[in-house]
């Protein structure tokens, strides 16, 4: 699952380290790309689809293993260039937490031909775009959007940075306080604190999904130049990369330029990371309560969820998630916020990942009554296990899911994001099948998935209780807990 989720909450598993604040625009990034073909398959309103079917995503692979996915759109004279590396936190050696993210920062510090970040960023800004990057558990990616006539020049800059970054001790040292500042900002966000805490509980300290992508401050303090350089040398390789290009451009031109920029790049021979450790098995409810100076209480509950390898379940989970806590008129908001009036906000979240995932429910509520909120959430889970949802509600959830996707994929960058995202954890073809598959999800499928994953007597829960709440007296402080559990 992708983006409708991430538009609402910025988690540590999707960090844009090159972020610069801008005036908020209507821009919920993420999502699918090749829905087009999927819609064609389903035959919905077929009279309007053939135009789309003429420009599907095209895959080409260079001899060195670099995958190139191109999806022309000819929309507004722009082109999105999005380079995805299978070089997220899951590739880090044990004990080197935060290295993947650290490298993403240092890459922009210079190359032999562009010796500082001003020359790299300036080259892209001169082309009318801005260079951005993000690192997650399963991937890192680097992307720009520029007027289409500047495609070749922009690709050359991206190619230079990915292949020829100068990883110097000076650049590693100078970036350290910036990354520590980024980590401090994350700790100020209650949702990010809960997310880090719940991941630590679900996955444990040795699983790469159990530690924030940035690493904890102690990790950031001790990362060395050699660790960063070794990670770069091993995982930044053509056979570990997918170049996605969308917009006003032809696949042939993309492939020709990509061959020119990346064709001489040598393969890496040591890419396979070790399998992550097995997840601790839950036999009951595991709780962590954090005291924190806050104006209201917060809660995050994590249930099990499928990995991308279990595609049928992943598709079902996306519909289930939308019905439960994402779509218009979703159950959690309708019941807990609008009817029972016990929460100020509530939503559900599920990020499709390479390994086992989690479905989380996050709520913010007035102080004093966390038990009632938890019980009401679990009641909704129980309902999903006990009763098959109505055809009406199922259809509404599917529509909501589709509308969100389509809103996001209107733009070249949104489409490139979706294609690359799925190619990192599976293949870009995942999207081709996606709509067709979730269209076939039935009410009984939802009930079956709820029984399999959403266990009302076995889950992890983190609650943040303000100091001003008398019931917080027995709870550890957020700061203290964070030192042992997450930070």
């Amino acid at each position: 699952m992708s983006g409708i989720i991430e538009g609402k909450i910025v988690y540590w598993d999707r960090i844009n380290t090159r972020h610069m604040r801008q005036r908020p625009l209507t821009n919920r990034l993420r999502s699918l790309g090749i829905v087009i073909v999927a819609l064609f398959v389903t035959g919905i309103a077929g009279g309007e689809i053939p135009a789309f079917a003429q420009s599907p995503a095209v895959l080409a692979t260079l001899p060195n293993g670099l995958r190139i996915v191109t999806a022309p759109s000819h929309a507004v004279g722009l082109v999105a260039i999005d380079a995805w590396m299978r070089a997220g936190a899951t590739r880090q050696p044990i004990g080197h937490f935060g290295v993947a993210h650290y490298l993403e920062h240092v890459l922009f510090k210079g190359t032999p031909t562009r010796p500082n970040e001003e020359q790299i960023d300036g080259a892209i800004e001169n082309l009318g775009g801005s260079f951005n990057a993000a690192t997650s558990f399963d991937w890192a990616h680097f992307y720009v959007v520029v007027p289409s006539e500047n495609f070749a020049a922009a690709l050359a800059v991206i190619g230079d940075v990915l292949q020829h970054a100068s990883i110097t001790d000076k650049s590693v040292q100078s970036e350290r306080p910036i990354i520590l500042s980024e980590v401090a900002r994350g700790i100020d966000n209650p949702d990010e604190v809960m997310n880090a805490q719940i991941r630590a509980m679900v996955y444990g300290p040795k699983h790469p999904y159990g530690v924030p992508v940035t690493g904890v401050p102690q990790d950031v303090q001790t990362i060395t130049r050699d660790q960063v350089a070794a990670f770069y040398k091993t995982f930044y390789a053509p056979n570990n990369m997918t170049l996605v290009v969308t917009g006003d451009i032809a696949p042939e031109q993309v492939q020709k330029e990509a061959q020119s920029v990346f064709g001489g790049w040598a393969k890496s021979m040591t890419l396979d990371p070790p399998d992550p450790p097995a997840l601790p098995q839950l036999t009951s409810i595991h709780r962590t309560i954090l005291r924190r100076s806050a104006s209201s209480s917060s809660m995050m509950i994590a249930f099990g969820a499928p990995s991308v390898a279990d595609k049928p379940d992943a598709w079902v989970m996306d519909v289930l998630l939308t019905l439960l806590g994402q779509g218009a008129n979703n159950r959690l908001t309708r019941t807990l916020r609008d009817q029972q009036k016990i929460v100020d906000s509530i939503s559900a979240d599920y990020l499709t990942q390479q390994h086992e995932g989690i479905l989380t429910v996050t709520a913010s509520f007035p102080t004093g009554n966390p038990d009632a909120v938890e019980k009401a959430i679990v009641d909704q889970i129980q309902n999903l296990r006990d009763e098959v949802v109505s055809a009406w509600e199922l259809d509404a959830a599917k529509q909501s899911l589709m509308a969100s996707y389509l809103f996001d994929v209107q733009t070249d960058s949104g489409r490139a994001d979706a294609l690359g995202f799925y190619d990192m954890i599976d293949t870009y073809q995942y999207d081709v099948d996606y709509i067709a598959h979730f269209e076939t999800v039935t009410g009984e499928d939802l009930r079956r998935a709820a029984v399999k994953y959403l266990t009302p007597d076995k889950y992890n829960i983190v609650t943040i209780i303000p100091f001003t709440d008398p019931s917080s007296a027995q709870a550890p402080s957020a700061t203290a807990a964070s030192k042992t559990a997450s930070y």
């Binding site: 909450i9 090159r18 972020h19 610069m20 604040r21 005036r23 625009l25 209507t26 819609l39 309103a45 309007e48 689809i49 789309f52 003429q54 022309p72 000819h74 929309a75 507004v76 004279g77 722009l78 970040e117 960023d121 300036g122 800004e125 001169n126 082309l127 009318g128 775009g129 801005s130 007027p147 100078s174 970036e175 350290r176 306080p177 910036i178 990354i179 401090a184 900002r185 966000n189 209650p190 100076s293 806050a294 104006s295 209201s296 100020d344 913010s364 007035p366 259809d395 509404a396 529509q399 589709m402 389509l406 809103f407 994929v409 209107q410 733009t411 489409r415 100091f467 001003t468 700061t479």
Partner: protein, 463 residues
């Protein structure tokens, strides 16, 4: 049965959006048409033949300048209740119609305007035109719906803000705009929202939803003549005339002449949030293009003064930027940095970073103020701005937004034609223009707003 129809049309809209991705092309875009309807409402239409969609964007000048302390927040309350009933349609009727249009009709509010946005298939334009016209003419604000909207607004006040930029910016704004409508909370006053009655909303609507306050922009695959005819018909017999009095001139803030510091502490944060705010001209001012370029050079891109100096060279913070929001009348330039509160010194002891970061921020702005930008930097800033503007136009609904915004907020710059001529306006900006703007607006009159980590046991916020 009605719901099945709704479902089907959402599929159709979905496909329409997808098809538009492939087909939209500037080459098939006509020049905008600009008409004043008989009722007095301004209508701008831009026909794009290579899309199956149409986007309608309505601006109503019903912002904070129409409010006072006694009804602060009423504009957003009216916006939240606008689509909940008219003399011709009950709430359920409107809901059903919106669903049949693809569920992409909504309202919003900011301190300058109430907005209505609609995105639907071009073939459903007439229904969208009818709905929007009915809402502009005949909204009723039913008691039950006002009650529901009030609960939702109040719930919004309680929901946590995950973004600390907003409070640090609001604190600056209260000082910079003292004595004007903009000193009040941007989202309204909670205690006022609790008391406002349906009759108050109706009175505000009657007073502000008048023709001269309204601009409608339409972009999509509907012939301009048909758009004009549709709104001409649907907005005929507009029930409220323009008031006889002229619109009062906006009362401008009194410029401050020396630095003022607003410092707050929160026990629930671990980073320092520091913002330097300066009074600036609004989006319709002659200086607006020069200000855009100046702000881009100051902190609007990664090769800007603040980003390179504070982040890349000094390593003081992760998030570093300056923001120049488009506003009517007056605006502000805010230089912003998020930094870690301490850093290990050479002796291993922690060094308090807040004063160091604050001074570095002010020093960087001062250097910028005193230094003539290099021509290469100026040209890069222009290319970056023009490219960013193009990217911001990717979605058809944003194209309608910019067309309408230019008409209602940037009249002195050419109205809706400014949207088309944006690149020319930016390209005309000279080094001297930028330096003049910097000297005029980045002076000693700065408001330093800081939110800093405080005692975690002392509550959320204290002075």
């Amino acid at each position: 049965m009605a719901f099945r129809t709704f479902i089907h049309l959402r599929y159709v809209l979905a496909v329409g959006i997808l098809a538009s991705m492939c087909l939209t092309s500037h080459a098939e875009t006509a020049a905008p048409r600009d008409v004043r309807l008989p009722c007095g409402i301004r209508l701008i239409v831009k026909e794009e033949q290579a899309t199956s969609l149409v986007a309608v964007q309505v601006f109503v000048r019903a912002g904070s300048d129409e409010e006072d302390a006694s009804n602060c927040g009423i504009g957003s309350f009216v916006a939240a209740t606008l689509l909940k009933g008219t003399k011709n349609q009950h709430t359920q009727d409107i809901s059903r119609l919106i669903g049949s249009l693809g569920d992409n009709v909504s309202t919003s509010w900011d301190p300058d305007f109430t907005q209505i946005q609609a995105l639907t298939l071009a073939s459903r334009f007439d229904d969208a035109s009818y709905l929007i016209s009915d809402v502009l003419k005949n909204a009723t604000f039913p008691d039950d719906e006002v009650k529901t909207a009030r609960a939702s607004l109040l719930s919004g006040f309680q929901a946590r803000s995950l973004d600390l930029y907003t409070p640090v910016y609001d604190n600056m704004r209260r000082v910079l705009y003292a004595g004007t409508s903009r000193e009040r909370p941007m989202n309204g006053d909670q205690s006022v929202i609790e008391k406002l009655k349906p009759s108050d909303l109706r009175a505000f609507y009657q007073r502000t939803f008048v023709p001269r306050n309204i601009v409608i922009a339409v972009v999509g695959n509907v012939p301009a003549d048909r758009v004009i005819a549709s709104f001409r018909t649907n907005l005929a017999n507009f029930p409220r005339a323009n008031p006889s009095r002229n619109v009062p001139a906006l009362s401008g803030p009194t410029p401050i002449t020396k630095p003022i510091t607003v410092k707050k502490f929160r026990g629930d944060i671990n980073a320092c949030y520091i913002l330097a705010g300066y009074l600036a001209p609004g989006a319709g001012a002659r200086d607006y293009p020069a200000m855009l370029v100046m702000n881009t050079l100051l902190g609007g891109m990664k090769t800007s003064k603040l980003f390179t100096s504070l982040r890349e060279k000094q390593g003081l913070g992760y998030e570093v930027s300056s923001i120049f929001p488009p506003q009517v009348g007056w605006s502000d330039v805010s230089a912003f940095i998020v930094a870690a509160p301490t850093k290990d010194g050479p002796d291993g002891k922690p060094v308090e970073m807040t004063p160091i970061v604050r001074d570095a921020l002010i020093e960087a702005i001062k250097e910028f103020h005193e230094t003539k930008p290099a021509d290469a930097d100026l040209q890069r800033a222009k290319r970056f701005l023009i490219g960013s503007y193009l990217i911001a136009h990717e979605r058809i609904e944003r194209r309608a937004y910019f067309l309408g915004y230019s008409e209602i907020a940037q009249k002195e710059l050419g109205g809706y034609e400014f949207d088309t001529n944006y690149a020319d306006a930016i390209n005309r900006v000279t080094v001297d223009d930028v330096q003049r703007a910097a000297k005029q607006y980045l002076g000693d009159g700065v408001v330093l707003s800081m939110i800093l980590p405080g005692d975690p046991n002392a509550g959320v916020i204290h002075e």
